[in-house]
């Protein structure tokens, strides 16, 4: 049995939306090198719509695939829609992840939320802080 689904392997070997957006409207980075995965998401937002998204990931195959899939799922969507993206949805879209790799999909969700939070902060848009998870202190890296 293969370690990963075909979808995961496809997104891992041909990741969509890899790169950097210069002058991005929101940037989110989660994870740390100590635990072996870091995701960085760049958003370009016009009229509340995510018109472009790019990512960079340091991590395992499922971390790269999760970031790729997550960026595909929010591209062209409203920021409100993007806020509702869950890690389960990312994992399902990848036809599942091994149990011990589910945190990779969590990182993808958090990276996007982190970038949206950055966008809100930059534009002084009020928000409910409880909507944003605190990656730095999650149990995974401890």
């Amino acid at each position: 049995m293969a370690l990963y689904s075909e979808k995961v392997m496809d997104h891992f070997t041909h990741p969509r939306n890899v790169g950097v957006i210069e002058n991005a409207d929101g940037v989110g980075e989660v994870g740390n090198a100590k635990c072996g995965d870091i995701m960085k998401i760049y958003l370009k937002i016009e009229n509340d719509i995510i018109v472009d998204v790019k990512f960079e990931t340091f991590g395992c195959g499922s971390a790269i695939a999760s970031s790729s899939m997550a960026t595909e799922m929010i591209k062209g969507k409203s920021i409100q829609d993007a806020m509702t993206l869950t890690n389960q949805a990312v994992a399902e879209a990848l036809d599942g992840l091994p149990l011990h790799k589910m945190h990779c999909s969590v990182l993808a969700e958090e990276a996007i939320k982190n970038a949206l939070k950055d966008y809100y902060d930059r534009n002084n848009i009020p928000y409910d802080a409880s909507m944003f998870p605190d990656c730095e202190h999650c149990a995974h890296c401890e």
């Binding site: 100590k34 990931t57 395992c60």
Partner: protein, 395 residues
């Protein structure tokens, strides 16, 4: 092209070993413990295998005990020495920080029973010295257990010197020689080794079989209780085909050792020289006292599992000590023990060769590894931070 470069994990069985096993399945099917002629024929094959393994290690046949593999041999050796020590009131054991888990986990268990364990530091040269062992020996030391060669980073330990230190101090000496047997010259008498573990499948023999050398007179404690096989020290009907295969493989490996290892070392050196050119990398393990077949590097800014998956797609089977490949959240304890910080330990690559590899395969590895490392760095935010000065290079 598919290149198998994970021979420290396991090797392909040799035709010599496979052929040697076949009679053990068909013609010589008896139980060596049976009194009848069919059983006695099996007994003869078993003792013949024992003699051949003994010859390769420089010991007597009666000092060889067949086991299910290296882990069982390690467990039995350490537990036996610990029980003997406890009877004399000695409950201190010396080992190293980069042992295999078969040793470390057994030591952990003994610690819970009240033993004290000193793990020697391996940061200097990614190795230990006999002096470190000498300095650590105490009145109550009942065992020194250090590996012959490290499975992840290839350091070869000064076994003869350590053996001499132990002999002078009267402390039993065990070595986990799983990566060394069939690859390096071993002589348990000359090297003053009391207990030694080896595993069949690391030198083109079959899996599921190993051996424990135990110096005559040293009291072994059973790990598996039952029948009187293996002089009463390891119960269970002997896995005769595997034992025959292992004996043939070891004999073959020892007979051709110098030729094979010269060939393998030349390939290893080519890889090390070529991979060193990748910026911000570091060789893991002792650069001088090194297994002929081991290449181990850390590459900064990338993670090992994605590296392995991409290499596999380009036909290179290798391994890594990253957390994602170790099945835990921490990278390999060996890489941490030699002083690699988590950040770079995640980006490790081990290539382990055998005489079945070719120089053409090394060229292929040297083409694809730099490509894959460069690609993964190009999508890594860590690498970007390193390049833009937001993060400082470690390597």
């Amino acid at each position: 092209m598919q290149v198998y470069a994970d021979n420290a994990a396991t090797t392909k069985i040799s035709s010599v070993a496979l052929q040697a096993m076949m009679p053990g399945f068909e013609a010589v099917y008896g139980n060596p413990s049976s009194l009848h002629s069919v059983g006695q024929e099996a007994k003869e094959a078993l003792e013949d295998a024992r003699e051949r393994v003994a010859k390769c290690l420089g010991c007597e046949p009666r000092e060889i005990y067949f086991t299910s593999g290296g882990s069982e041999a390690d467990n039995q050796a350490i537990i036996s020495a610990a029980r003997l020590g406890a009877r004399k009131g000695k409950k201190h054991i010396i080992s190293t920080a980069f042992e295999h888990h078969a040793v470390l986990h057994t030591l952990n268990k003994l610690e819970k029973e009240g033993f004290e364990v000193t793990l020697l530091d391996v940061k200097n040269n990614h190795n230990i010295t006999a002096q470190q062992v000498a300095d650590a020996i105490r009145e109550d030391t009942c065992l020194v257990t250090v590996m012959y060669a490290n499975n992840e980073i290839g350091s070869v330990l000064p076994i003869a010197e350590i053996g001499a230190v132990c002999k002078a101090a009267g402390v039993p000496f065990h070595t986990d020689a799983v990566q060394a047997a069939g690859h390096l010259h071993i002589n348990v008498k000359e090297q003053n080794i009391d207990l030694l573990s080896l595993s069949g499948h690391k030198f083109h023999g079959p899996k599921g079989v190993g051996a424990l050398y135990c110096r005559r007179g040293f009291p072994l404690v059973n790990v598996i209780d039952g029948g009187a096989q293996e002089r009463g020290k390891r119960a269970g009907t002997e896995n005769l085909p595997a034992i025959m295969g292992m004996a043939a493989a070891l004999e073959d490996a020892c007979a051709n050792m110098d030729t094979n290892m010269a060939k393998v070392a030349a390939m290893r050196d080519k890889l090390i020289e070529g991979l060193r050119k990748i910026p911000h990398c570091a060789l893991n393990g002792d650069a001088v006292n090194r297994l002929p077949n081991n290449v181990s590097f850390c590459f900064e800014g990338i993670e090992g599992e994605s590296l392995l998956l991409l290499l596999d797609m380009k036909g290179v089977c290798a391994s890594s000590g990253s957390a994602c490949t170790s099945g835990s959240l921490d990278p390999s304890h060996v890489l941490l023990a030699i002083g690699r910080v988590h950040d770079v330990a995640h980006g490790s690559l081990r290539l382990s060769l055998s005489e079945y590899n070719t120089m053409e395969e090394m060229d292929h590895i040297l083409t694809v590894v730099p490509e894959v490392v460069a690609y993964l760095r190009s999508i890594s935010p860590v690498w970007r931070d390193l390049q833009t000065g937001k993060r400082e290079y470690i390597l």
